[in-house]
Symmetry: none
Subunit: 220 residues, 4 copies
């Protein structure tokens, strides 16, 4: 007897009856021609921030990495298995995506663990503790050159983490080259779980601004 979660199979049944009917040709085309997404999103594992839902996209549109706290490690040419870097390489060199979006969110548990860990190292698990060390340079930048108001350090760290991941992306030679050649654009975004407010980082000011179809200054 299969013990697969029943509600997932029921949800799958609903997808067959509705989503798949809508996307049937898309599915068939994607199976025949393969995927050609133009956007890579690096977001958090958090169950509340699935990028496909927030951006209302169907199959084939977003190439998605999800890891704890939507982090990009810096380029590192060593042996070892770098999952996020492998996905980035696949997206940029293989799929030639035109955009990479680092998508953070409010109440991020990974960011929260990092902040608590700074006070009491190793209260977090061993793997989590090591992974979120990737936020250290973000914290240092934030302490040295604060961009955001300091009244919400959790939010400020979420923003700082997004900025750091954008910086780290540029340490990959093939990304730096693609960005220079205007073949690739990098973006920061942040999503509020409670209000569903989306904010996008202004690349010049590095500040996060409310975004939406009607927000001012959005690219046509």
């Amino acid at each position: 007897m299969l013990n697969f979660p029943k509600h997932l199979l029921e949800g799958y049944g609903r997808y067959l009856g509705k989503g798949f009917v809508r996307y049937k040709e898309t599915h068939e085309r994607l199976a025949v021609y393969g995927q050609t997404p133009e956007v890579m999103v690096i977001s958090c594992c958090d169950s509340r921030v699935a990028p496909e839902g927030i951006f209302s996209v169907g199959p084939g549109e977003l190439f998605v990495v999800r890891n704890v706290a939507n982090l990009v490690p810096p380029y590192e040419d060593t042996e070892g298995q770098h999952g996020t870097s492998a996905a980035i390489e696949f997206a940029v060199k293989g799929l030639k995506v035109k955009h990479i979006v680092i998508m953070g969110h409010g109440q991020c548990g990974g960011v929260k663990a990092f902040r608590e860990n700074a006070n009491a190292p190793m209260v977090t698990g061993q793997f989590i503790g090591r992974w979120i060390k990737l936020l250290e340079p973000a914290a240092i930048s934030m302490a040295c050159m604060p961009i955001d108001k300091a009244d919400d350090p959790q939010l400020a760290m979420e923003y700082a983490g997004i900025r750091q991941s954008l910086k780290n992306l540029l340490t990959f030679p093939f990304i730096e080259e693609a960005v220079q050649g205007a073949a690739l654009q990098l973006h920061g975004a942040w999503f509020d779980v409670g209000s569903a407010e989306l904010r996008v980082m202004n690349p010049e000011s590095q500040r996060f601004e409310k975004a939406g179809p009607d927000a001012p200054g959005i690219a046509e």
Copy 2:
């Protein structure tokens, strides 16, 4: 001027007008009480296989890792940043999820790269090449103890990768303990892009069987 992809912002606009209306209370509850997903899904970055879509779930239901080829590395108590292991630790020790689903899919580019790499090492990128080495034990198991028909080696390797990730999950002491204590169940699933057929691994035979709300033997 923000140059954020316009179609994503338009999609976000649609979400605000429809999905968010539907899930408004869920969003607010999730913001106040935090996330309590019961299921973790480890699936591929591939743009065609977003688990939230396939299982028709809303915010708060799935804690999702997405990496190339939906791989779980074996437990390894070394320094270094293990993104997938960190997410697993967060889900099992922090969120106490009740299910982990390894969700593979057809035409997986990561699996394909691994198979091509076996032929001509290093044709794939450096990060991809190293990451998909995680499939090596899967290939060895598959060669030594074939479970699937050999007429589709790509499919057989996709299945073998899922089985290997399930094995690797059990190398984490806290997972082994949770599974022993019946607090956690591990599942394998596979999705066909073209037909949207879902197959679930039978834990006894280790074979993948067509699944759905009406398929026989599904747990009530």
Copy 3:
């Protein structure tokens, strides 16, 4: 008192009375001029597959390595004592052999141990377990690009091991050079213990075909 096995000394007595009489001049010539074998055979330690018997050759014809599972390691320019590589170097650079035959066989205990080990690591002994890890790339190739029918995984792995050893031979610079210059040919062969059937690998299809003096397509 010598306790040397009596039946071996009796067999030696028979050799003196028969084989040596036949090969006396050969022995003397080989003692005076040294050995000049044209063929190196790398076969298994298995007591059932002595290459001199199968090919009915007398003294001086085959330079023979016998190790568990007839394996050739890849070229590796590190310190350490590589017995098989030393023998290969001796044969190719010293004796200038014209052919190297990798000679596998059915029911190979080393291959069997590797297949069982994939299931339950370390059930085999420590030295055996490490030695047969040399079969790992063979298993990976076999899983990624199956050449043989999967209905006999033991046989398929025996074949895959022979193919891998042939590949590994070409990683030795002096072999690659000799093969390029047509001074050396590499061959795969497989022997069935029960029926004494000999199969030879077709270098183009990489498949093993029944061989013999009357088999089609044998080089004159």
Copy 4:
């Protein structure tokens, strides 16, 4: 077109017509019940000293390692692939052989290379040079406590190598235990290519004595 050496296939044809006819039942029995050799022989790759010929044995009788200069490395519990140690482990722990014969021979090229190398290091190939370093303790023993007459240093070194390999065998815990328990006996032997004279090491005097079915003191 197969380019397998024609004379080997012709020899195989002779084997089918003669040897296999003689050993047909043996082959079938060995295929059904597996091998159960009572003797392991570690001899040289040299084309002139195939142990099956010298001892007139058929299939299934000798488990044979053949490496350059019939060397046994000392027991070494490190990672790495020790081919000869793996074969010894297979024979003693797996097959439970009752005898191990280290079988040296005259005009051994490996011993000769070691002796030349002592004068002009690295004249020999890199793999050979490292492999025959295993003879160093033999040379030291021989220099410090000469057992044999010094008028033939090549022969004396051949003998010393056999003695050293016998010593090295006893460094394997499972061999030491089997020898203590009288489950296993170790023997040294040496074969002269030109005259086919066989000499066996007297375990007490450590000297090599002419052996044969009629030689005095042979175990009944």
